[in-house]
């Protein structure tokens, strides 16, 4: 499809917001300001933004431990997220969840997930709700290459097909599960697996917003039209370690630099739209500035926000008990 100028700006802004958010979390974590386990999405932006482009609040996504990008792409409030990562009382989850459990059900974001393979079963349920209530909604499960080996994920492929659910399974293959290479850990192939469970699959370059966008369009249309689930195998790279603190010695010599130089979805996007004279650098720079400001604010507000108090400890366990 042909994007208009506002669309292009919106796409770029989405990716830039994720990138800046993650780079900043990286910095603040290194400075000791953020506790816990934090997994950054930097490098994978085109996937979340290209896919969530087609989704609205009827549509649900289930994310992974590496969830910030999916949240932002699905429209979750960036300041609320940052506050949550800082463990603040007015964070999105009241400081109870942290990076690995950010959720905003009102936006159709059903949660990051600390359990690899936790999301696909849940998304089958969200898809069942959409199908039964005839909302027209679809449901997207993101998993990593590592998560694609988990039984919960594979079972969900079958269930979604047997029940003909409006699901899109997105395997975000960044080549590694922690330190383990996907080349080694994934026998067969993602597309052959899709076929094995009777659904269409497509492989796509996850650094290319346009490619992701188009492939997602087809998969999501299929689901919306009642034609059942399909699988996207998105190849991409992560710029940072598995989690903050990972020295990444398992990656090949120069690999990260090469990736950053050649497979940076933001650079690729910028080059493409400027070469095609759809946008000029100033317009993109303006987005950069705007986003940098937003992230600055998010961080400074998070730093000064109050933490939860002991009175909050035992609330929110049950609706009623």
């Amino acid at each position: 499809m042909q994007f208009n100028r506002d669309d292009l700006i919106k796409a770029y802004r989405g990716m830039r917001t994720i990138r800046d958010f993650e780079e900043r979390v990286h910095e603040e974590f290194s400075a000791g300001k953020i506790p816990g386990f934090v997994h950054l999405y930097a490098g994978e932006e085109a996937s979340a933004v290209g896919i969530c482009w087609h989704l609205d609040n009827r549509d649900k996504i289930a994310s992974t431990h590496r969830g910030h990008g999916h949240c932002i792409a699905k429209g979750v409030d960036v300041k609320g997220m940052m506050k949550e990562i800082y463990g603040r009382r007015d964070g999105l989850c009241g400081g109870k969840g942290g990076s690995m459990h950010i959720a905003d059900l009102s936006k159709g974001m059903m949660g990051a997930n600390g359990i690899v393979g936790g999301g696909p079963p849940l998304i089958c349920g969200a898809a069942m709700t959409a199908k039964y209530k005839k909302t027209g909604g679809v449901a997207v499960a993101f998993v990593g290459d590592g998560g694609s080996n988990q039984g919960t994920t594979l079972e969900s492929y079958n269930l979604a097909n047997v029940w003909k659910l409006p699901v899109i399974f997105v395997v975000e293959d960044n080549g590694y599960a922690e330190a383990t290479s996907a080349k080694w850990s994934v026998a067969g192939s993602q597309l052959d697996r899709a076929k094995g469970f009777g659904m269409p699959g497509v492989e796509v370059d996850g650094h290319d917003f346009f490619a992701v966008h188009d492939a997602a369009q087809e998969a999501i249309d299929r689901a919306r039209n009642g034609d059942g689930p399909s699988l996207m195998h998105v190849r991409l790279n992560r710029f940072f370690g598995h989690f903050e603190g990972d020295a990444m010695t398992y990656r090949g010599e120069g690999e990260i630099q090469r990736v950053r130089d050649e497979q940076d979805s933001l650079k690729i996007f910028r080059t493409r739209v400027t070469e095609m004279a759809l946008l000029d650098h100033e317009q993109l720079d303006a987005v950069d500035t705007e986003v940098a400001h937003l992230i600055d604010e998010a961080v400074s507000e998070s730093e000064s926000a109050p933490p939860p108090t002991e009175a909050d400890l035992q609330t929110d366990v049950y609706v009623a008990y």
């Binding site: 079963p121 079958n158 029940w163 008990y321």
Partner: protein, 334 residues
Amino acid sequence: MAKKSYRQAINEAIAQEMRRDENVLVWGEDNVGGAGGDGEQDAWGGVLGVTKGLYPEFGSERVLDTPISESAFIGAAVGAAATGLRPVAELMFVDFMGVCFDQIFNQAAKFRYMFGGNAVTPIVVRTMYGGGFRAASQHSQCLYPMFTHVPGLKVVVPSSPYEAKGLMIQAIRDDDPVMFFEHKVMYDDEEEVPDDPYTIPFGEANLTREGDDVTIVAFGRMVGFANQAADTLDKEGISCTVLDPRTTSPFDTETILECVEETGRLVIVDEANPRCSMASDVSGLVAQEAFKALKAPIRMVTPPHTPVPFAPELEDAYLPNADKIVAAVRTAMA
């Protein structure tokens, strides 16, 4: 009021709630039975027939079979609950929790807390438990202590048809995730059960009998045995209070403590394995909160720390029964 079986009572509760609320859906392995085949549909209605009749009445959109993949379909129930449905999903035997526990204890149970109160996950997981069926080690366990351990879950252990109906309706209307334990040996037990829908609140123990000498706290199928034991003991001049907590989470600590304050003696009957069980849980509660009222050591009647054996002779020796309860009460009185 008609006599109904435990099976019928549960079936009726689900059917009535499905009529009342179109968001109640039912699924599990062979909950219809025969899906997609050439023969009868609704051939099974669940492996022991509890959901039979729902499919003909509510149709294929609301009553579904599933492939054998408990993580996927129990998880789907969790995801559906978090997005607006009220699924009643069946984990055929609770012994199968090991292939899907994550979706229950890390997802359903924790959503509300992890998400800062911004999630409601009204799922009911129906599941069969318990011994006496000669079903051996992997089809006879109780396991409700494990679910009771988990914050965020509610755990229901109905002891009779009447209880089962009221508690099931409450479970379906409840906004928290509920584990509903059905004792497989009780499905044919009958008693009078009202035709109209009614609820029994969670966390309110049922005093099935009042006495002066000993409090017996019993769970699920053990409540019947406790009442039998109390009959026998009555003839010996020992008068028992029998308490059915109905739910192990939430748990009616107040009533238990009151009864123990009155009787000063406590016997707990739990069909689950003894370690980190409800037997120990109740002991711990009382040893901390009603210690001064206790006139004698607490007695626990449980199976031994072994898997459930197959041979009838062994399984009978393994399970608690009325005689063992009588013996424990006598010891408590000695």
